[in-house]
């Protein structure tokens, strides 16, 4: 066990857990934040993706020991933002959600993209989402949702 301090959804937090725990488990079990999902447990599917210092990271491959001092945003924090509302609305309007298990990760990936590139091309969207597997949608409606969000949320990113 060791104390690790980091910023979680805007607030400083200290946890006392083994450094070799997966950060995903810290979020889900210890902190009750179950919005980040486990799909594969080996960094392939992106369902567990969170933002670390504003960029997309798979929390299932992140040991707690790597989070010290970092700024973490999960879907639970992100959903309180204006940007989230734009993305949520776009995902619904475009039908980008089916089973939904990949969706929180997909939203975090979209945020990470738009934060760095507010007007992405379809090719750039595809590359940015390539680490987030979706088995339901064939991705087409997710691409449309990200495009819609970029348009509707112009100036926010």
């Amino acid at each position: 066990m060791a104390k690790v301090t980091f910023t979680l959804n805007g607030e400083s937090i200290t946890v006392d857990e083994p450094l070799n725990m997966r950060f995903l488990d810290i979020l889900r079990m210890k902190l009750g934040l179950t919005g980040s999902k486990e799909g594969c447990g080996e960094g392939e599917c992106g369902a567990c993706a969170v933002l670390i210092d504003g960029q997309l990271v798979n929390s299932c491959l992140l040991p707690l020991g790597s989070v010290e001092g970092r700024n973490v945003m999960t879907i639970e924090g992100y959903r309180k933002t204006k940007r989230y509302k734009i993305l949520e609305d776009a995902f619904i309007e475009e039908g980008a959600v089916q089973c939904g298990i990949c969706t929180p990760g997909m939203v975090m990936a979209s945020e990470s993209l738009l934060n760095q590139n507010p007007k992405p091309s379809e090719k750039e969207i595809r590359i940015a989402l390539a680490g987030n597997l979706c088995r339901c949608t064939g991705y087409e409606m997710i691409f449309k949702a990200v495009k819609r969000a970029a348009k509707e949320g112009e100036g926010l990113w």
């Binding site: 070799n20 889900r28 447990g41 960094g43 790597s66 001092g69 680490g131």
Partner: protein, 282 residues
């Protein structure tokens, strides 16, 4: 077992000098290899040093004759840095997806020493020099001399990679070609990186590196040298003998991702494709 987050690089070397620690940088390989049941800690078999937050090892600096890359610089950062060679970016953009690229590092790729590691392939191509340190000592070595086999390196338990140096070079054409199971998020079945500098129809610098076809990346400097100084057509006319020179070194395996016949064929196709099109500039 001990688990430590060093506050400084110096402190990290201090811990390493005990000789019992394993360094975890991005964790993208180690966390998979030592995966346990969900909600239980990773099953590491030795003391662990979590160096992810040593920001002092995150830098890309243009040193005139070479590019110096701090060991913890992640792929996403490299992709955005203007001084990073195009062929390396062509490779990095095809590694996994953004979330892995944000924590994945070239140094970690070296430490893992997978023959299918795309990043390592490019380090071979670019003659990367590694700055390796331990408490009170420092050495520099060519990438070829550090990786010795699958998962094997000359790094001792007390050492870690501090920096990767990419000597500056100019190429008239480069190529990175990878076959994975799909177009992203895939481990290479076979991968190729090539670079050439042609001046006035003469091949001045020729390099080819092939991944996932042997225990380490295949780069045959003697074959490259043999054809340096030749005209384009002379090199292209020698395609059969060039390919023959690679025959003893292209020894792929069958596994869950592909088979040896395919890997072998494609490796030679890639060599031929690069040589026969090397005069067509990017």
């Amino acid at each position: 077992m001990k688990h430590v987050i060093p506050k400084t690089y110096k402190e990290a070397l201090e811990h390493l000098s005990e000789g019992t620690y394993k360094v975890l940088a991005g964790g993208t390989d180690l966390m998979v290899k030592n995966r346990s049941w969900s909600e239980t800690p990773a099953r590491f078999k030795q003391d662990m040093l979590y160096i992810h937050n040593l920001d002092e090892l995150r830098y890309v600096e243009d040193k005139g004759d070479h590019l110096a890359i701090g060991a913890l610089t992640d792929y996403e950062t490299l992709l955005r840095h203007e001084a990073v060679p195009k062929v390396l970016k062509d490779c990095l953009i095809e590694i996994a997806g953004p979330a892995i690229r944000k924590v994945g590092t070239l140094a970690g790729n070296i430490g893992n020493a997978s023959p299918a590691a795309d990043g390592v392939l490019l380090l071979y191509l670019l003659d990367a020099q590694l700055v390796i340190e331990r408490k009170g000592a420092r050495r520099e070595a060519l990438i070829d001399d550090v990786i010795t086999g699958p998962g094997k390196t000359t790094l001792s338990n007390e050492e870690m990679i501090k920096e990767i140096r990419l000597p500056k070079s100019t190429f008239t054409k480069t190529q990175f070609l990878k076959v994975g199971g799909r177009k992203a998020d895939a481990i290479s079945k076979v991968a190729f990186a090539g670079a050439v500098r042609i001046e006035d129809g003469i091949v001045k610098d020729l390099r080819m590196a092939i991944g996932a076809v042997n225990v380490t990346v295949v780069r045959l400097r003697e074959v490259e040298k043999l054809h340096t100084g030749e005209t384009i057509s002379a090199v292209q006319d020698s395609i059969v003998s060039i390919k023959n020179a690679y025959v003893p070194h292209i020894k792929p395996i069958d596994d869950q991702r592909s088979n040896r016949v395919y890997r072998k064929r494609v490796a030679f196709n890639m060599i031929e494709d690069f040589i026969m099109n090397m005069h067509i500039q990017d």
